[in-house]
């Protein structure tokens, strides 16, 4: 029951890899967690899997494994990740391929599935959250439906002594909670400890956001060496108290400010943080600086887990076409505003069928709308027109209209960019716990 050292190897799918390698090599870790799924990542991965049955997992999975597997295997560090995305089994096989390529003699990979609940969702018309519609309203447009699994779904993989645990949709903090529950033997209804474990996971799940990333504001919050910011780790005690820290010699900082900012990040009611394993209560959390880059975290609690699990549904939502063009120098803003009014009239004149659109000036009102800071005169502005359309062809016309401003618009417009993408949106619904059946498959080298 010694201290359990758990590190964060990624806070999103495109995150840096070198800090994860550093943690694996020097962190003296027990577990290293990679959290790589944003809301619609699985839907986009599902589209890739539809085109190629072997695809659909995180594109950086192999690169990450090459970076950390040698150290993790040599030191007995358990890797836990949701990089399986829409195809955990293919991801598990890809990890074994990397292990072979690295010349490792043995590796046990556990693939945890069960989050894919699309068949159930198609068979049961349940209400969508924050909406007056139901799942049926997405008929024909649904791409994926994945339930947020809890730490309990990962326990069989840890009991099987897996070196690498690969899964799809699991609540982000649960990726960290699972190895803590397993190591310390916390009960499934030990709400206070589970709540504390969720705090540990929540603080670590965005990686550098607790160790100096996303907080620097020169002259107000100065952060050393963001180019080599260290990823965080937690030293967790049997009662769930922990110290958040980072490796010596890395950039960044860990202190009351960085930990408080991350503690509250994306929370709604801090006293009721809904998780599959527990309703965590962060309202009593205390943070204490106990050394350089060391913050002690204690005081979380929890209440019984919810009866239903949250499901994220990905669906096709038309196409988004976008175009941009810049104006600079004296009168830049007036020329940009003229360009916007020309574009608005062109949309009407052509009868371009947009479902909704935004026309704005980057440098004036693109971020915070018409009110804040728009009284200042910028040296340069960038016109931006974005529209949602029912078809790709219509979306292409949006950028073309912006590009046509070169010859037909105000003076001195330059630097046009255009893009078209299929829009994939997400909605949420609830599913009864009993309808979600998890499985754990072991792959071995």
């Amino acid at each position: 029951m010694t201290v359990f050292r758990i590190g964060s190897g990624a806070g999103y799918s495109g995150d840096r890899i070198d800090p994860a390698r550093d943690l694996a090599e020097r962190g003296q870790l027990d577990a290293l967690v990679f959290e790589c799924l944003a809301e619609r990542t699985i839907s986009l991965a599902q589209l890739r899997r539809s085109a190629d049955p072997d695809a659909g997992f995180d594109p950086l999975l192999e690169a990450r494994m090459r970076a950390v597997l040698p150290a993790c295997v040599a030191q007995g560090v358990t890797i836990i990740t949701n990089m399986g995305a829409a195809n955990p089994l293919a991801a598990g096989k890809a990890v074994l391929d990397v292990a072979r390529e690295l010349g490792l003699s043995r590796l046990r990979v556990a693939v945890v599935t069960g989050d894919d609940v699309l068949p159930w969702m198609l068979a049961h018309d349940v209400p969508l959250m924050d909406s007056d519609q139901s799942v049926r309203s997405l008929d024909g447009r649904l791409i994926s439906a994945n339930a947020y699994l809890g730490a309990d779904a990962l326990l069989p993989a840890l009991q099987a002594s897996a070196d690498v645990v690969i899964t799809g949709r699991v609540a982000d903090p649960a990726l960290f909670l699972a190895p803590l529950m397993f190591h310390f033997g916390w009960a499934l209804d030990d709400w206070q400890r589970l709540g504390q474990g969720i705090v540990v996971g929540h603080l670590l799940e965005c990686a550098a956001q607790v160790s100096g990333g996303y907080i620097a504001d020169p002259g107000f919050v100065d952060v050393p060496r963001l180019d080599e910011v260290g990823f965080p780790l937690a030293e967790v005690q049997v009662d769930g108290r922990c110290v958040i820290t980072k490796l010596a010699g890395t950039g960044g900082r860990v202190d009351r400010l960085t930990c408080t900012a991350q503690l509250l990040y994306e929370l709604e009611d801090p006293a009721r943080y809904l998780q599959p394993d527990v309703v965590a209560d962060f309202s009593g959390v205390h943070l204490t600086e106990v050394g350089p880059d060391r913050v002690q975290v204690e005081g979380a609690s929890g209440h019984p887990r919810p009866d239903q699990l949250k499901v994220t549904l990905g669906y096709r939502d038309g196409f988004i076409g976008e175009g941009q063009i810049s104006y600079a120098g004296p009168g830049a803003r007036a020329r940009g505003e003229l360009a916007l009014s020309v574009l608005e009239r062109r949309l009407q004149r052509l009868g371009l069928q947009t479902l909704e659109h935004r026309a704005e000036l980057i440098g004036v009102n693109a971020m915070h709308g018409p009110g804040l800071g728009t009284d200042r005169e910028p040296y340069e502005v960038r016109v931006r027109l974005a529209a949602r359309t029912p078809t790709r062809v219509l979306a292409e016309q949006v950028g073309q209209e912006v590009e046509a401003l070169y010859l037909n618009g105000p003076a001195g417009g330059g630097g046009v960019t255009m893009s078209v993408r299929e829009a994939v949106a997400v909605a949420s619904a609830l599913i009864p716990r009993e309808a979600v059946v998890c499985e754990c498959e072991i792959l071995e080298l």
Binding site: L264, E266, E356
Partner: protein, 115 residues
Amino acid sequence: MKIRDIALARSGDKGNRATLSLIAYDPADYARLERALTAERVLAHYQGVVHGAVQCFPLPHLGAVHFVMNDALGGGVTRSLALDAHGKTLSAAILDLALDADKDWTASTLDPRIP
């Protein structure tokens, strides 16, 4: 003085809601921060951006005030046409607010359209 002189801000997204945390550099400044940042004043500052109610969660033991701003992200991160669909840049806007609410309640920082 402005909020920026005593606190930092971080925003995040949750569906169509933006979260906004203000953390006092010095916990001793918490009371000033809480006094300055009522839900009403935050809503007024983000007019045109936030279209729903603002909830305030005071956390004195952390030296922080936390807000949830409803209907703030153009229908949600995955539906919004905004350049910053996550509303990540929203945090910085609040730092420009005057610390003393009495001094700027009708001033141009709140609504530049009011002369």
